[in-house]
Amino acid sequence: MTSLSMNPVLGFLIDAPVSVAHYLVVGAILFTAGVACMATKRNALGVLMGIELVLNGANVNFVAFASTYLAGEGGRPLGLDGQVFAVFVILLAAAEAAVALAITLNFYNNHATVDVDRADDLKG
């Protein structure tokens, strides 16, 4: 904790009341974890999970920007717009997951594996 409070960039997070910035940090962490997961996982299901993390990182940001409570006095929250966007993203994620799982299943049927490194049929 101490070391965090000493950090010149993130240090203010410890002392300040919970604000949009905190949520943004969580979103950024989620996003980064997702990207790392996508970039490192060889299992296609792992990659899909990374994508879910990336999308939900963005969702956290939207919801945070939408909240009137977090915006505080004089702030201009997105309001319902942000929440609607978040719902759209969830919807999109569900659809994407359905399609991607179907592709994965087909890939498995054809190659008996879900290793994305083996999916290089379209290599140039």
Binding site: V35, V47, V116, A119, D120, K123, G124
Partner: protein
Amino acid sequence: MDLAAQLPLLLGLAWLTPLASFVAILFFGPRMGPHGRNAAWVATAAIVTSLVLSLAAFVVWLGVHPVQAVAHGEHGVVHAAADAHAGDGGHASGSHDADGHLAADHGHGDPHQPAAYSGNWYTLYRGGRLELSIGYYIDALTVLMFVVVTFIATCIHVYASGYMHDELHEVTDHEVRLADGHHLHRPGRFPRFFQALSLFCFSMMGIVIAGNLAMVFIFWELVGICSWFLIGFYYERKSASTAANKAFIVNRVGDFGMLIGLMALWGALGTLSFADSTTVGPDGNEQVRPGLFSQFRPSEAGHVLQVPDGMVAAAAAAEVATISADHASSPADAASQIAARIPDWRGMGMGRWLLFIAGVGIFCGCVGKSAQFPLFVWLPDAMEGPTPVSALVHSATMVAAGVYLVGRFYPVLSPDVLLVIAYVGAITLFIAATIALVANDIKRVLAYSTVSQLGYMMLALGVGGWVAGLFHLVTHAFFKSLLFLCSGSVIHACHTNDMRKMGGLAKVMPWTAFTMLVGCLAIIGAGVPFVIGLSGYYSKDSILAQALSFANANPGHRVLSWAVAGGAFLTAFYMFRLWFMTFAGQPRDHHVHEHAHESPNVMVTPLVVLAVLAVVAGWTLPGGLGIANLLEQARPAGTAAGLEGGFVFGQSLLFPAEHESHEGAVHITATLTAFGTAMAGVLLAALLYLWKLISPDLIASIFRPIYAFLAGRWYFDELYDLVFVKPTLGVANLASGVDRGLIDRLIDGIAWAARGLAGIDAWIDRTLVDGLVNATANATWNAGLKLRGLQTGRLRQYVMFIVLGTVALFVLAAAAFRSAGTG
């Protein structure tokens, strides 16, 4: 019901039936039975129908206008019957036009008008003064010609269905040798022959029934094209195709004159219709358009020939223009002034030349069609066609068209034109008869005989013998078609046309020999003087009598009567020379004689029928029924009285009335002269060829130059070749040389230049334009090859690319914002 009103319907149907047959054979001919055998039946049935209809019309005519043995000069008695019923018939005649009417309408109180029915079936075009219509002009001459044409055509159809049977199979034409040395083999053309025959009959009847000169001209040309089809029937033979072309081209020469005549008439008079026509104007009033006949011989002037108003006004165009200019404000005044001056101008002789040109122009057409000097050269060559064609086209009908038209057009012909006609006829008669003396081809003898007899008819018409000329036309049609069919029978049997290879055929072909003897006797005018004779006896006598009568009235033209008498002698000689050489004596060529045989019944029957008619056609039955009296009914108004006048040849001519030639001294002289010359001709022929007391070869060698001249046919063909054909060919060759040497070169040069330019253009296209396009494509291709390395197929790498790319974009965007913020 008015029977006479049915005449246009009857004759119109008779006219159109062969057209139906033509169309049927044209489309379905080859499918009519094996090899189109039944086409003959179709054509024959059509012409028999025409014959029956024509005979019906003939009976109707006789019922309405009974023929009476008229005392000459009292024609009113005949025509009284025509006037009695003439009031209402025209509109019931089935005509579609309002102007169908009886010409006899105008004959009330005018006993000199012949009974005639005229009207229009169909108007092709009407605008301004021009009116072209399909119309009819029916008088005794029309009805008679219909019967003659359909009758002879029927005989010839029957005969041809036997004669042409070779055409039912594959034909080997022994007169055509192909390049490989074999004879020509071709499919038979049986239906085609009858198709052309039907069209020909239709065209010929079209001329006869035509109600105006434009229609005459249309069918005139149709007859010409039909003769071209038929003469050129064996068109693979060079001689036949040449003869067909010759006939067609020579006829065009005459038709050119005819066109000039037509234009002179139409330009000056504004009508080509023979008879008056009545049209109902927009205001409901009937307007009478005067036809040619009543313009040239108006009934007010007693049907005396005069220069019509239109021609006078056309000749006095300058004066007419002056008057019109003076009275520019009131055209009606000008018109009445002009009308008042016309008799003066006519008195000054204006328009006489136009009248002469119109007459001679129309006669030019007749010269071509009726094979008169100087255009007779096509007819003997036309014998290249099958013999039935010669019989139909070149003896009885087509060549008769010219004589018929002169007869029909007779009221319009001025004394000068008549003199031209008479001299042309006389020259033709003499030249053709002399050539016939030495010809050895049986059909050529008959062809020249035809030309000569046509000369007789023209001469008769030219000296004022209207009935005589047309009477001879009818009788000649019978015996000349008989003679041609007999010669066809002989050729069919002997397979040669050369009389020098025949002889003694009377024993093997008795029917043909006997009928041909009848024909020969008819053509020389044999008979017992003053008692009875064959058909030619009557018609020739009346021609000679009229020629003598004319010679008495115009002593300067006595040579015309000598031509007739001399022609009679020559006719008798060459006809009996033909008969003796063919049928009498001993066979000259045994090969020919052995194969000779009598022709089948289908060919002999028409011979017998025609022979009977050749005997009786000239007879006048008790009660007056006869061809001459029938023709007298159709005599054009005003021509019975004779004609006087003439200016072109510097003297006044007197054409005596025809009835004068039937009286007293003239008639006796004519009969005895005709009889004497004919007998002399027969005797001389018998001396030379039957009893062989004098050798023909000896005479030929004594008069060698004359013989060679005649055998060379007066060298007319050579003369025309030298005067017309060679210069024409020379000009054509010159033109062709210019075409090849100059114009073709020029065009070739232009083509070469264009080709060179195109080559340069192609080079630019290939190197520059194509190079640019290809370079672009190559660059794209190479870039693609280089860039494909990026497509590794590793998903995680792609994610890294995306992440790094996004980061890079953020960095760039931040840098940009920063610089923008500071800037």
